[in-house]
Structure formats: C-alpha cells, structure tokens
Point group: C2
Chain length 236, copies 2
DNA sequence: GTCTGTGAACCACTTCACAGCG
DNA sequence: CGCTGTGAAGTGGTTCACAGAC
C-alpha cells in the first residue's frame, strides 16, 4: 500500500481515523513529514518511537508533535511511546492516502516532464493517469508509457478517468485558463507550479510551488549574512 | 537586470535598501511574490499601483502589503500609491538580486535535469554554473551546454567558480552527504528537494521543497471534503 | 477625497511546564 | 521513572480601523 511497506501484518491497526476533519493548517502540513519519518523508522525495523525521537527526525519540537497527534485523535502509550506501524497507518488514513489519488499533469515542458517521471509520486500513492499539453510538438509524445494528449481533451478525461488532482506546469500565461478547465470539469485540488496567483471558487484547494521564489528567499538570507544573526533561518 | 525589464530609465530609483536586515520571515516569503506582480504590471506599462491593487494581484490583504513595505523601509505616495518601477527595484535590492547568484545542482535525475533546464531560474537572475552527480552514467552528459561533473569535484568548483547556492536533487539517502560537502566548501544557502531533514550548522540557510508533500496536503483536503467547510484552504 | 502608514486588537501557532498514566 | 497528553503562557503574524499626508 501507500505507507510503511513494513511493520507488522495487521492491516488496520488503529481505530478508524474518525473526527479529524478540521485540523489546523500547520498541523496538516506536518503530517506528511511525520509519515515519511515513520516509514523510514519502520524500514529500520523499529517498532516503537518516542515523541522526542520522532520530533528530532522531522525537525520539530516534541511537544508540538504530541499536540499534533493528540488533536488528530491518535495513540501513544505513556512511558513507552508510539507504535510506528500503527501511527503511520493512522496518519495515512487521516491524509486520505488509503485510496490512491488520480493525477493529471498539464503542461509538459521540462518541469512537467520531470514531474511526470518523478518516481516519488507513484511511490506515495499518486497515480499519474493523464498528461496534457497545448503544443502540437509535444502532443502524442510518450512519457514512460503515458501519451500526452491535447489539452482540449482534459475535461472529458477528468470525468471518464476519475482524475481528482490537477498539476499545472504550464507557463504563467496559460495557468488560469487551465485552472478554469480543471475546475469546470470538477477537480477540486490543484497544485500550481506556474508563477501566478490562480482565482478559483471556494471549495477548491490550490497549493502553489514556485521554485524561483525559493531561490529568491535564499538570496535574501545570503545577501544579509553580515552580522551573526544566523538564527531564525530555518522554517522561514 | 534581474527584475522589471521595463519601466522608466533610472537605474537606482529609490534610496539604497538600507536597514532591512531582520525582516519577519513571513514578510520575506512574500517579497518575491510582490516582485513578480510588479514585473507583470510594469510590462503592462502601468507606472503606479495602489496597495489594494497590488495586494489583489498577489493574493494578500492590502494592510499587510502596506505593513510589509513600510517595514522594508520603502516608498509610497499618499493619495496616489506606489511607483511600480521604483518599488520593484527596491524589493530586488532587499532580496539581493542586484548581483546574480551562482547555483550548483547536485543530482541529475529527472528532477535535477528539469531544474537545470528550467528557464525560470536564469530569467530571475540565478545562473546555473555547475551540475554534479555520482552516477558514471550521467557524468559527462551535456545539459544545455553545461557538462555534468563528478560530485567529488564539487568542493573545488564551489571555491573556484564562486558558487553560493546549492540545490540538492539527489535521492534522500545521498542528501545529507551532499549537504555536508556543500557546507564544508563554504556554501551557506541550500535548496533541498530530497525527502529528508538536513542537519547543517547555524548560519546555513536551508529551504526544503517536497513535491509529494504538497500532493499529500491536497489529498487531505480532498479526503475531508464532506461538509461545506471550504474556508481556510488557501495558504494552508 | 484617496490612499498610505501604523497603533491596537485579534487570532493562530508554538513552547513551556507539569499532571497523570503505564 | 519515562513518556504522553494538555492547560497556560508566550510568540509571531494578520486584520482592523483610523489618523495623517497628498
């Protein structure tokens, strides 16, 4: 399945990930990190982990980890710690990773092609099932067994193939149009790599990743590395 | 230069980006967005912009934009707004984009190759001057005119070629080793795409981008899209 | 009148510190 | 005795609302 790959042999070790609907955004952001650290621990054969250890592996404060997990409604044995396999399964459940997501990538320039071939997606339960572009020079191309289709076929594919996440890797100028296509077709989760702000209706979740922005933030720190004010750089 | 490309003809329109050293992290994160929006406005020939308009273009509250800019020490004419070209130049100065940065990418799998060819980097003043990998099958390969070198040559290249930003696009298992090489060679800014937490000494800035994490956060929202609680999804 | 700059209130998240369970 | 779970305190960031410049 998606998560541990190791651990003991029970399928659903903990109770059902019940009422974990309105977690703080900051907590949600950390859950994938916890999950990754737990997978890594599980592969090392470790069965139990303390909040202190797991927090160190994810770069957070142990109290925050405990608070996150308790808000989430889960586990932990006092005096002992957390069961690695059970906790991983629980978090995976909260994140909705029990059922694989179906992803379309729109825009297959260099970045889009790299995303299409990035093994980390399928490894973690995200099936890339559709590739779309507007450039006739790219349409028809085969990327690791998936053929790039014309973007005009996007809406039909979303419906017919159960696509529920759209990844926009087009130039900025095309991004809003693609977002509109996705939203009209019923997609409510979008990951945007284009350098622009997308307008979407309420209820549609958009996350934005701008690689150049990250470099510019580093540039800022680099530029102001004069005095010994080297604190507060992490987690900026 | 790095930023507007358009606008009026004065080179250094505003005063020197003086004492903007210890800005709040949240502000620094937004500066590149402001800059991008300003570039876009400048290309449209717009010379002046109100905080309201610029805030809308970047998806933030106008009061926050004004506060950011005033903290930064800059500009603004009451009753009128901000001079687009001057403000862009000012922000570029604060971010340290007046001098181009020299970037090395380590790890040239699919993602690293895409990053090496991503035009957005050079467009915004980041010169990719070094590509390094440990795989003999990749070393020697030419990517858009840059030859991939053996990672053992990294330290020397950092010193000889003035590399000041390292981008790690290796598998997780190799990332810490590469980070150590970079730090030992004197690099103090690292952008990490590997799915792991890096340990670095104080004074070294690390930013982490994990593409799968972004999808997992979307998965969470997708999974909990039951009730009409569609607020607070943006900016999570 | 318009739009900036900013004190004050508000809110969210983080850290501390410790009570309580195993 | 160790480690979780959590109230309480602290911190940082956002929004409000308005005084003041143009």
């Amino acid at each position: 399945m998606t998560t541990t790959g190791e651990g003991t042999d029970h399928r659903a070790p903990s109770g059902p990930p019940a009422a974990a609907a309105d977690l703080p955004a900051a907590t949600v952001r950390r859950l994938p990190e916890y999950l990754r650290a737990l997978s890594s621990l599980g592969e090392s054969g470790i069965e139990t982990v303390s909040s202190e250890t797991l927090a160190a592996a994810t770069g957070v404060n142990s109290a925050m980890l405990r608070k996150d997990l308790s808000q989430l409604g889960a586990s932990g044995m006092r005096g002992v710690g957390y069961n690695v396999a059970a906790l991983a399964a629980y978090i995976a459940g909260v994140l909705g990773l029990t059922k694989d997501s179906r992803v379309a990538i729109i825009g297959l320039g260099h970045l889009g092609q790299a995303l299409a071939r990035y093994p980390g997606f399928s490894e973690r339960g995200f099936d890339i099932v559709g590739l779309f572009d507007a450039d006739p020079g790219i349409i028809g191309k085969d990327l690791d067994g998936i053929r790039v289709r014309d973007v005009t076929l996007l809406a039909g594919a979303v419906r017919d193939e159960g696509i529920n996440i759209g990844v926009i890797a087009t130039p900025g100028a095309a991004a809003q149009h693609v977002a509109d296509l996705l939203v009209d077709a019923g997609v409510t989760s979008i990951l945007n790599f284009a350098p622009c702000v997308l307008a979407v209706p309420q209820g549609v979740a958009v996350r934005k990743v701008d690689l150049a922005v990250e470099l510019q933030i580093l540039s800022f720190h680099e530029h102001h590395k004069t005095i010994g004010r080297a604190n507060a750089i992490e987690r900026s």
